[in-house]
Structures are given as C-alpha cells and as structure tokens.
Symmetry: C2
Subunit: 231 residues, 2 copies
C-alpha cells in the first residue's frame, strides 16, 4: 500500500519538476539519472513513474530518440472510452450511442463559429476529401482516413484546440468501436458520404439551418444502424 502511494507521489513530483523547469511539449525530458538525483528516489521508481506519465501522454517516449514532454493529447480519453465501449457491449451499445450523441452535440455547437470562420475562405481542401471519400466508397474501400481528414480540414479554422482534439477523440472512439461491437454496417451509408458535401455547401453559403440539417443527415444512417442493433 505504501508503495502505491509512493508511486503516485513520484508521478506528481515529476509533473511539478516539468512545470518548475518551464518545459513545454516536445522539449527533451531530464535524464533518468538526473531525475533519480533530483528527486532522491530509486531508479526503478522513476522508470515506473515515467511509464505512467507516458500512458497519460504527459511524457512521450520516442524509441531510439529519448523521452520528451508529451503533447497531453486526449489519447488516454480515447483509450478509456474505447475500453468502456467494449466493456458495455452487452449493455445496449450505450457508450457508442453516447459518443455519437456527443459528436452531434459538438458539431452543432461549433456551427456558428465555423460558419463565421469559413466565410470568404477556400473550402476546396474539404471538398477534395469528400471526393476521396466518394471514390473510396464507390470502389468498396474503407473511407475512414478521408473521413478523418475531412473533419480535421473543417475544424482547422476553429480557434479552440481543445474542441478540435475532443472532436477527433470522439471520431476515433466511434470509428474504432464500430467494428469491435459488431454493429451491422449501415445500408444507407452513402447518405453519410453525401452529407459531407452538404456540410461544405452550408459553410460555403453561410447557412446555419442547412449546416444543422447536414450534421443530422451525416449521423442519421449510423443512428438507424444503432437502433436496429439494439432492437
């Protein structure tokens, strides 16, 4: 038990040391030897704390290059939600359904900001991703990569890194959970592909209502598949 507390303590002391040293994401971390001396704890404790910090993306181990201050991404959130989704599999696909609802809420809530940010801006990059998605779909290929790139392209104009990362985190949970949870493929997924074009159309003309309709159309095939799966 004491050992457990000591472990958390070393984690917190390394976090304080990062703050105190004025380090930033991407900066090299002090060496293990330095941490051992600075904190006055065993090398094994430092190593273990670093592993915990790595799982939280507070430090990043680049194999062959050393250890750096991490980007504090939402990767732990994605891992946790994916695990929760798989654990709740018997439980009515609840986590996946909640993630999809959260994506819809998030997409709708950033609508006004996106409409303002994209006024008079070039939407060609987003349009190109829709084209890639359409081609992959027509060829029977997976279009997840183009889908992710599309949403990243649209959100790039949002001046809120947290919401961009949250949106991508939910995208990852949703996309990774679907095959794990045996949700039957949506028969009308073509409508989702086309809804991406409708999102771009709405941003192009600055139409808030058309944007909201396109967001709902984007998720409708998946929502129908989830309803069918839980019947």
């Amino acid at each position: 038990m004491r050992r457990q507390d000591a472990g958390g303590d070393v984690v917190n002391r390394i976090k304080e040391l990062i703050l105190r040293s004025g380090l930033h994401p991407g900066d090299p971390m002090p060496t293990e030897a330095h941490l051992v001396e600075e904190l006055g704890v065993a090398r094994s404790s430092v190593r273990e704390a670093m592993r915990t910090l790595s799982s939280l993306d507070i430090v990043e181990v680049r194999h062959g290059h050393g250890t750096f201050v991490g980007r504090m991404s939402l990767a732990p959130l994605v891992d946790g939600l994916l695990f929760r989704a798989r654990l709740n599999d018997g439980n009515d696909l609840r986590t996946l359904r909640e993630v999809v609802q959260a994506r819809i809420a998030l997409d709708l809530s950033i609508g006004p900001g996106l409409l303002a940010a994209w006024a008079h801006e070039d939407l060609a990059p987003a349009r190109a991703e829709v084209e890639r998605m359409r081609e992959a779909f027509a060829a029977g290929r997976d279009f997840a990569e183009a889908d992710q790139a599309f949403h990243a392209a649209i959100l790039a104009k949002l001046d809120n890194e947290l919401m961009i990362q949250l949106s991508d985190a939910f995208w990852q949970v949703h996309t990774s959970a679907l095959p794990l949870l045996d949700v039957p493929p949506a028969g009308d997924i073509r409508l989702t592909v086309e809804a991406h074009d409708a999102i771009v159309d709405a941003l192009e003309v600055g139409d808030a209502e058309a944007y909201a309709r396109a967001v709902h159309a984007h998720y409708a095939p998946l929502e129908r598949a989830l309803t069918a799966a839980s019947d």
Copy 2:
C-alpha cells in the same frame, strides 16, 4: 526500450483479460498471483501495469480493501487538462479559455434535451442549490461545492452519462485551474450566482431562448475576467 514495450503489453493483456472475464466496474480484480500465473510475467510487471491502469481509472485500488475494476471516469482527462493549463500559464490562459468555451458549447448543445427532460418535473433540488450558493456568496464563502451540485442536479435528467461526465470534468478543470492561474476574481461574480436561477427559470417554463441567454450570462463574468487577465 524493450522493457517499455513489454510494460505496455502487460497493460493491454490485463485489459483483454478484464474483457474476456466479463468483469464490470466495481467487480474485484483477479489477484496479483492469479495475473502473474495467467499472463506468465513477473510480479513486478503486473504491479507496474496495475499502477498504470490505476492512473487511467481502468482499475481502482481501494486501500485496505483490494483492487477493483475501475469506473473508467474522465479523471485522467481532468488531470491532463489541468496540467496542460498550468503548463500554458504564460501562454495567454489559452487552455482555461478553451475549457470555458467548451463548457458554454456543451451547455448550449444540451439545452433542447434538458428542456424536454425537465418539462413537468420538480426543479426544487436545483433551486435549493442556488439558494445554498447565494448564502455562501453573501457570507463571503467559497460556493464551488453548491455550484457543482447545482450542475449535477440539472444534468441528472440527461440520458447521456458521457456528456454528464464531460460536463463535470470541464467544471473541475475550470474550478481547479482558476486559483492556480492567478486569474483575478470576477468583480461581478454575483451575476453568475443569479444566472443559475435564470437557468432554472428557463427550464421551468420551457423557454429555449431564455435558457441560452442564461447560459451566456452564467459565464459572462468569468469571460470578462479572462479578457482582463490577458490584456
């Protein structure tokens, strides 16, 4: 390097074992001895993996009671964002500002669901929390606890555990970050206290526009303090 990979591997293998065993949050975890035998790895590796899983809230160590499957809460998200907020302190309070924007977006996006859920329901518990908040404020005491209880009471009717937890996670980051970041107290924080009543009023009469106005009023003093702090 190999050791690092091996560590992550044991973490993943314990996660798979939880899934395979059909365990759920709150269930007792298999003993350390059982895990050592089942996974064929050293006791120290199991112990270390369990510590990482504990930091992710995938397992929960209850001192004196043993180790259980965790609640997979958003606690790691709160820790990560708080750390990021402190790391970016010099950087224009950016993380805190983003968290506040995310809270506003989330509150607005759940408006329609809350209005529907609270129609014909008793809002007295939420009203009581506003009263507690008002009394604490009048007495010059901290009202964070009543504030958190208020938001939990309002969100209790939302049929989306993820969004309830996300809302509380952002509340925690916001509330914990404020004193750490030396944001000057909002002079007109009384308006925030009163805005809680306006939220209840809006839910009581089912007025979507009044709800949105109350959400904006709720954050306005803090937004002004953040603007002043970065000037």
